[in-house]
Structures are given as C-alpha cells and as structure tokens.
C-alpha cells in the first residue's frame, strides 16, 4: 500500500493578522513529517478552497482570532464540499468559545484547538497515512495516522 505524507493547508481567512499560532502549527506539522502549505494572511474563503483543491490536501486548518469563526468556518466548508472534497478534514484553532466549538462540531467541522494547546497534541504519531478516509470519529487526525489503517 502506497504511503504518502498527509498534506495540510494551514490558512488564515479573514482580516486578522495574528499569525504566531498559524506559523507555529505549520512548522510543527512539518516537523512531524507532514507536507504543509501555508497561505499567508488575509485570504478569502474562495481562495482557500481553490488552494485546497489545487494542492490536493487532506486537511485544511484554519486559524481565526478575529471572532469571525462562525462565518468563516461554514463558508470554507461549503466551498470545499462544492469542490467535491467531502473527505477533507476541516480543523483549526484560535479564540473560539466552547459553545461555538460545539456548534461547529455539529456542522461537521473537526476538532478545534484553543489557547494553551500543545503542538504535540496535533502531531503525536502522525506524519503519514495509508490510503482511505481522512476524517476520524472525533474529528482529529491523530488516530488516522495509525499505520495499521
């Protein structure tokens, strides 16, 4: 079974310029053996979906600290689905209240990581996957790196 590296698009939608977290996440996912593409700042949802398609990613990780997460997550999700990429895991982090995390989870968004998250939580054991589904029941992408899959 051909192994290929997990491909992650780390994206900054909206107007906020806080990229400390996005860059740390991008660097630690790369160090954990994933292929990481970072979009840079101020991306529209349309541009993020187009990049996801073009780069054929498995995961889209959005970093949002502007309070616009309830607008931006669903928008990106819809555009990615319209591209026929239903299997792509949409995850992310930022300043997102727990109630909103729950609402977004119900809408099919993966786990969201808030302040104080250790980067090891994201990457432990991950780095490559065999073929198949990317999403896991808990919306994380720790489990699917299980080499037995």
């Amino acid at each position: 079974m051909a192994e290929r590296k997990i491909r992650v698009l780390v994206a900054k939608p909206g107007l906020d310029g806080h990229d400390r977290g996005a860059k740390i996440i991008a660097a630690s996912l790369r160090d954990a053996g994933m292929e990481v593409i970072y979009t840079g700042l101020h991306q529209t949802p349309e541009k993020i979906a187009a990049t996801a398609l073009q780069e054929d990613v498995d995961v889209v990780a959005l970093s949002i600290l502007s309070g616009a997460h309830m607008t931006l997550f669903p928008r990106v999700q819809k555009l990615i689905e319209q591209n026929g990429m239903e299997d792509v895991l949409i995850t992310g982090g930022g300043i997102i209240p727990p109630e909103d995390v729950e609402t977004l989870r119900e809408m099919g968004i993966g786990r969201l990581f808030g302040p104080g998250t250790e980067t090891g939580l994201h990457t432990s054991g991950a780095g490559s996957r065999s073929t198949g589904r990317t999403k896991t029941p808990d919306g994380g992408f720790v489990a699917h790196a299980d080499p037995g899959r």
């Binding site: 400390r20 970072y38 502007s66 309070g67 250790e118």
Partner: protein, 574 residues
C-alpha cells in the same frame, strides 16, 4: 557617587585617591567573590528553572559592584528628565503626575463604544484608547464583502466621519486625550478625529492624543497594512510635517514594540526592532528636509510588559538611554525633547491564559508594577478574560482598579526610578543596550529596515523566537501556571462578552443612509483631488481632510490612494 571610571587620569589628588580606594575595594571584592562562587558551586540547584529570562537571557545568581564597575553615573544613568534619561523622561516623574490610566477598548458600533467610554470616564480612567475592528484596521467599510463576519467583533467599526462623531458624542476632545491604535489607515482615522473635534468647536491645535501610525511593525509583526512600505512611509512623513504646524499637541506616531513582542520576539528583539524602526522614521523625516527637532518631540513609544519582571524594567530604562544617545549623537537633535523617549505600555496579552483565567489578574498586576518601575507615561492593564474575548465590564473594572491600587496603595510612585543603582538592574540595562546595538548593526548590514521587511528577516526572526518559546514550554523548561503545571480539570470559570451580528446590520444601515444623505458631487470631487495629490507627491493631509468633511468613507479614501500606490504583498514563510 557610586561609580567612577578610571579610564581618564583623574584631575585632582582627591580624585586620584578615590579611584585608588575604589580599585582596592574591587580587588577585595574579587577575592571574596571567588570564595563565594566556590561555595555556591557546591550548593544544590533547583531543577524547575534554568535561570534564564523568558527571552532566554541567562541570569546569574548574584550581581555585585563588579557588574556595574564600567558604568559612569552621570554619563550612563544620570538624573531623571536629563540626558540620557535612563531614570525617566521627566524630572519629577510620578511626584508631579501619575501615569495615564488608559484602557484600550472598543466593540460593536460607535454608539455602544461611546457608552463604554462614558462608563470608563465616570470611573476614573484618564484617557481613552480606541480599539477598532479588523475591517477598520485594514481600511475597509463595514459593508464591504471582505468585512463579513468581522464587523464590530474585535473593536469598534468606524467607516466615516459620521461614526467618529457618534463615538465621541458628549466627550470633549479638548479635554480627553484619545489614543487610536490604527496604522495602515492611520491618516484617515486621524482626519476623522480632527474633523469630529472641529465639529465640536475644538480647533486642531487643541486636540490631544496619539495615533499609532507605525507601519513598519505592521509588516514585521501585526500585519494590518494597506500600501507597500515606500508610499506608507511617505504618508507618515506627511502626517509629521502637517501636524508639526497644525496639530502640535498630537503625538503623530507611537512606535510600537508591543506587537513585535506579542508575535513572539524576545525582549531584545522588541527593543532593537522598535528603536530601529524609530530611527527609520527620523531618517524619512530628515530626507524630506524636515528639521529633526520640529517633529522628534512628538514621537512616542509603546512597549509590551511581559512576565519577566526585571528584564522588562531594564528594557524600559535601556530604551530611553539608547534613544537619547542616537537622537543626539547620530541624528544631531538639539532639543532635549527630541532625545526624550516617552512611552505607553500594555501588559502582555500573550501571557494571559485561557486556563484558570482569574490568575490573569495577578499576572497583570505584576506586569503593571514592572511598567511603573520602568517609568511608563501611560498604561493599559489587560482584563483577565482578554484571551477569550473582548472584556466584560466586570473584568475591565478589575483591570482599572489594579492600576489604582498600584498608584495609591503600594507607595511605589513616591520616589523616582527606585531600582536605579541595583547591581542587577543596571547590569541588565547595560546588557540589553549592548545586545540591541548588535541587532542594529545586523539590520544595517541587510540594508536597513525596509530591506529587512522585504526579505522577510524580521518575520523569520520573530517566528523563530516564538517557536523556541513554544518548544521550551512543551519540553517543560518553562512553567506556565495552569497550562503546563498546577493544572485543574474543568471548564472555564467566567462569563465572556459576545458580539452578535447586529453590529454589522446596524453599520450596514448607517452606511446606506450616509451614502444617500451626503453630496455625491463633493465626495467625487474631493476623492479625485486626493488621488491627484498622491500622483503629484503632495502632502495628503489637506485633501484628505476635505474628503472626510464631505463624508467620503474609509474604504473610498483607501481606494483613492490604492489606485496610485497599490497594495503590499507579504513574503510568506513559516
């Protein structure tokens, strides 16, 4: 006098004897210290700290006169209000006037924020500080498609003069000073404020306050830019030139280390990058032909106050000394007001934890104490919930009370620069100055600040330091209470402020009404004149004020200049 150098031959026999006595004292100290160090080396050492600052600066167990032996008191430390201003920018500091208690706030629409400002003024805040939402920070109107989801979320939405008039309704702009955290579109928001004052009957020369207007650190760290560096610097220089004649009480820039530090920089990087940015603005003004003494007195600074108590105090002190030395000796400024670094400070938002948020009150109190011991001129203390959302009134009140307790109960402001003469603090102040000078040399080698921005030097260095800190945290080499040690199970314990979409709807209606009400011919005419001024390289302030008076919106003014200047393209990397 505690410190005398022996580099020059002393002029009198008394001085020669004094120098000889000091030399003997130091020799004796060396011998005693050697014994002490031997004994200390045998003592057990705690394993929960590596005894470096939060920036990675090694700290020794003990500092003595040996560490400050090279300091010359009058040359390096001096008196407050005198060159090189190490002890403070003003002669009598907090004995004459306490720092301004200035809380950064803004949310939803101008109406709601106006109410918050009145709430703060009634409770003893002494200056206002406007937090804008992201669309405003980026120069977009609230009804721009790119603004969707962000209107009023992280600050107040201001799209035109009409919003600014509402924001300061009932707040006299000749008596309350207003600080505005605005950079890319600083000129536009400055013009909104000036004309709002004009409509209150307050002439420009009586308007007091500050615009942040520090675009260089936007490219380096905070990222709310519009135009590329060269036209952006031109607009800033226009503001310096215009204001030195028309609005002389206004601080035309707040050269900011805050965002550089929050993005992950070390204390030395914050200090050095910020001061180097400041020198760059001075060079731009000089290149325009302005006399440095005409605009330098209105330059002000803005430091972060991080967790490492003494490092922060030393940073404030070193910053004043470096600025004074360069302004006098490199840029030839003659007025002491041009040498004097005045600063605002804000406790470090990045140190607040989502876990056990009440602990943040304590962090903020220590950081506020460091800022005051560092000699700040104004202070924002963060509210405990600011890592979760914009603060509630309850949290803001505690943040303000924290400053009042510091000002009136601790006795700290009673004497000036009380840590001067501490072997440790003086030595750390010297060390930070030395390291900052090394960074200046490195930036010069790259071709200066703009070249460093274009090549991504600053961005890469900041990201590297951020990563180092995160790695140290996760490896357990840094303890953050509630995050990687002393953790508690359970959910968040406090209520947070939520901003709904009604701000966006309200702003949409207000803008539609404004566009219907104003004189479209006047808007078109003044915007065309502004574009023409940009093409002709004229000072933009006068045509921009005309466009603002005609109620041209923020987005329209941004667009009128973007057609000439284009947009900044970020070098992307991580």
């Amino acid at each position: 006098m505690s410190h005398v150098t022996d580099t020059d031959a002393p002029a009198t026999p008394e001085l020669r004897r004094e120098v000889e006595r000091r030399r003997r004292e130091l020799q004796e100290l060396e011998a005693r210290l050697a014994l002490w160090e031997e004994a200390a080396a045998r003592a057990p050492v705690r394993d929960d700290s590596d005894f470096t600052t939060v920036s990675g600066q090694p700290i020794r167990a003990l500092y003595t006169p040996r560490d400050t032996a090279d300091d010359d008191y009058l040359r390096d430390i001096g008196l407050p209000g005198e060159y090189p201003f190490t002890r403070g920018p003003y002669a009598t500091m907090y004995r004459t006037r306490l720092w301004t208690k200035r809380l950064f706030s803004g949310f939803a629409t101008a109406e709601e924020t106006n109410e918050r400002y009145k709430f703060l003024l009634e409770r003893g805040t002494t200056g206002l500080s406007v937090a804008f939402d992201f669309p405003t920070l980026m120069g977009y109107d609230s009804d721009d498609p790119l603004s969707e989801g962000e209107v009023g979320k992280c600050g107040v939405a201001i799209s035109s003069l009409a919003d600014m008039e509402t924001l300061f309704d009932g707040i006299p702009l000749d008596r309350v000073s207003v600080s505005m955290t605005i950079n890319g579109p600083a000129a536009m928001l400055f013009c909104f404020l000036l004309v709002a004052a004009e409509r209150q009957g307050v002439p420009f020369e009586k308007v007091r306050g500050t615009i942040q207007n520090d675009i260089l650190k936007e490219y380096q760290a905070q990222h709310a830019w519009i135009y590329p560096p060269k036209p952006a610097l031109k607009i800033i220089t226009d503001i310096f030139e215009w204001s030195s004649r028309k609005a002389p009480l206004f601080n035309t820039i707040s050269i900011s280390g805050y965002h550089i530090r929050e993005a992950g920089a070390t204390a030395v990087e914050e200090l050095a990058f910020t001061l180097k940015n400041g020198f760059t603005y001075v060079e731009e003004g000089a290149a325009r032909g302005l006399d440095v003494d005409d605009f330098a007195p209105r330059l002000s600074f803005f430091w972060d106050v991080h967790n490492d108590f003494f490092e922060e105090i030393a940073k404030f002190r070193a910053g004043r000394r470096i600025w004074a030395r360069h302004m006098r000796d490199v840029y030839g400024a003659k007025r002491p007001e041009s040498w004097r670094l005045r600063t605002h400070a804000q406790t470090a938002g990045v140190t607040l934890t989502a876990q056990q948020p009440h602990n943040n009150i304590v962090r903020v109190a220590y950081q506020g104490l460091a800022a005051v011991l560092g000699g700040t001129q104004s202070l924002h203390t963060n509210a405990m919930d600011e890592t979760l959302a914009l603060p509630t009134e309850h949290a803001v009140r505690i943040a303000l009370r924290t400053q009042q307790i510091l000002a009136f109960e601790t006795g700290v402001p009673s004497t000036i620069d009380p840590l001067a003469g501490s072997y440790f603090v003086e030595s750390l102040t010297d060390e930070l100055e030395r390291q900052a000078e090394d960074v200046f040399a490195e930036i010069d080698e790259l071709g200066g600040v703009v070249a460093g921005i274009e090549s991504g030097y600053f961005q890469a260095r900041i990201a590297h330091s951020a990563r180092r800190f995160q790695d140290e945290l996760e490896a357990g080499r840094r303890v953050i209470v509630g995050v990687n040690s002393f953790c508690e199970d359970g959910e968040r314990e406090i209520d947070i402020l939520r901003i709904d979409e009604s701000a966006a709807e309200k702003q949409g209606r207000r803008l539609a009404e404004l566009r219907a009400r104003r004189d479209p011919a006047a808007v078109d005419r003044t915007l065309a004149a502004l574009t023409a001024a940009a093409e002709g390289d004229d000072n933009l302030m006068t045509p921009m004020l005309d466009a603002v008076r005609a109620y041209a919106t923020l987005g329209e003014i941004r667009g009128a200049l973007e057609s000439v200047y284009g947009r900044f393209q970020e070098p992307v990397g991580f």
